[in-house]
């Protein structure tokens, strides 16, 4: 019997992002479509950054999770258009990022506040950070450095 796609979205929401395990691949907005084509489950995934090394791991993790739920016939397709944007991060994902210590993306191009002490006194250290999707900032009140999820 084919599982309902709503159910499958729920399963995928339990697959953590390999680099930022507090959010799921669904929170990250990289799962674009889940549909049955006859007895094959087609999952469409889009990369965050074109060179992100986590992309192939993510595809493998998705496949493993679905197999654990008894789906054997899976096809994972990569789609680059429309290009991924941080607008696709879920509200739940944004809240979890901040709780984890990563400032969520803002259209203004910088973090709204320090994810640790909530101070607005923050400054950029570097436009890049520990992964392609992050930049390096610091709080000038609590003096802690933190990651900022770049807005693209």
């Amino acid at each position: 019997m084919r599982a309902a796609t709503d159910q499958i979205w729920g399963w995928l929401d339990a697959v953590p992002d390999p680099e930022i395990p507090v959010i799921s691949v669904v929170d990250l907005g990289i799962v674009r479509d889940v549909r049955w084509e006859d007895d094959t489950l087609k999952v469409t995934v889009t990369p965050t950054y074109s060179g992100c090394p986590a992309t192939s791991v993510i595809a493998m993790d998705i496949e493993t999770a679905l197999r654990d739920h008894g789906i054997d016939d899976i096809r994972i397709e990569t789609s680059i258009a429309p290009a991924w944007t941080t607008d696709w991060l879920s509200e739940k994902g944004r809240a979890k990022l901040e709780e984890f210590g990563i400032a969520p993306p803002q259209p203004a191009g910088g973090p709204e506040r320090c994810p640790r002490c909530a101070s607005k006194a923050v400054e950029k250290v570097s436009q890049f950070g520990s992964t392609p999707c992050k930049a390096h900032w610091r709080c000038t009140d609590c003096l802690e450095p933190f990651d900022y999820f770049k807005c693209i």
Partner: protein
């Protein structure tokens, strides 16, 4: 030249530019002046290699079902179609960032036009790459201004870098039969048509950086048509292709 032949050359030019610059920039990994810059350069290189996979992946499909890896690791210097600018050695940190800026400026303008390409896949790759390159340009532009309008030492080094790299800028705007064919099909703009916008963009940043653009329009050429690369490309390939040369067909 048929449209398909021209299209392949166009894709190789885009892919080889990202590949060779990506490799050059990755040479800084573990060697940059400060940790933040090391990370920034590695991330920039990573984006460029990711873009390479899209361009060369597409080129390989047209070129008899090759993979992006086949094209990257199994060709020799004369088959590469990158502009000479991206293969020149890194020099000091200032020269690396000046080269990055001069390339990023062209790259961002080119990708902006390619987003409207008549070829859907080219437009999709350009839209993806353009987001990353906009960010590269912001950083390389800021750094060029910071170092140019910095200390006496950093200013002198940036002016030296600009003087050294300037003769390599013109090739990005050279146009030949491939470009004419591709432009006719609406796939890509004729590079020569991007020059005015480029001059305006770099003029603004370099003025803010208190740097003087050399007057000469002399341009070294021969990379994008494969007529003659600099000797540096062969040395670069001995590093980049070492594994496949030493152990042909090795996989893991």
């Amino acid at each position: 030249m048929t449209r398909d032949e021209a299209f392949l050359q166009f894709l190789l030019r885009m892919g080889d530019n990202s590949l060779i610059l990506g490799h050059r920039v990755s040479e800084w990994c573990g060697h940059a002046p400060v940790l933040e810059e090391d990370i920034a350069l590695a991330n920039t290189a990573l984006d460029l290699i990711g873009q390479t996979q899209m361009w060369l992946g597409f080129a390989g499909e047209i070129d008899g079902g090759k993979s992006a890896d086949d094209l990257a690791f199994l060709r020799d210097a004369w088959d590469f179609r990158n502009v000479l600018l991206v293969e020149v050695p890194n020099g000091d940190f200032g020269r690396t960032l000046m080269r990055q800026f001069l390339f990023d400026a062209w790259h961002s303008i080119m990708l902006g036009r390619l987003m409207k390409s008549s070829d859907e896949r080219v437009a999709a790759i350009a839209a993806k790459a353009s987001k990353e390159v906009t960010y590269h340009l912001e950083r390389s532009g800021d750094t060029v201004v910071g170092l140019g309008d910095g200390t006496e030492e950093s200013h002198a080094r940036m002016q030296d870098a600009l003087n050294y790299l300037w003769p390599y800028v013109g090739e990005m705007f050279a146009s030949d039969d491939v470009d004419a064919e591709i432009a006719k099909a609406g796939i890509a703009p004729n590079p020569a048509d991007l020059r005015a916008e480029y001059d305006e963009l770099i003029g603004r940043v370099l003025t803010e950086a208190t740097l003087i653009i050399p007057e000469s329009r002399f341009a070294h050429k021969g990379g994008r048509d494969g007529w003659m690369h600099t000797e540096h490309l062969g040395h670069l390939l001995t590093q980049m292709q070492w594994l496949q040369r030493a152990y042909p067909g090795a996989t893991w």
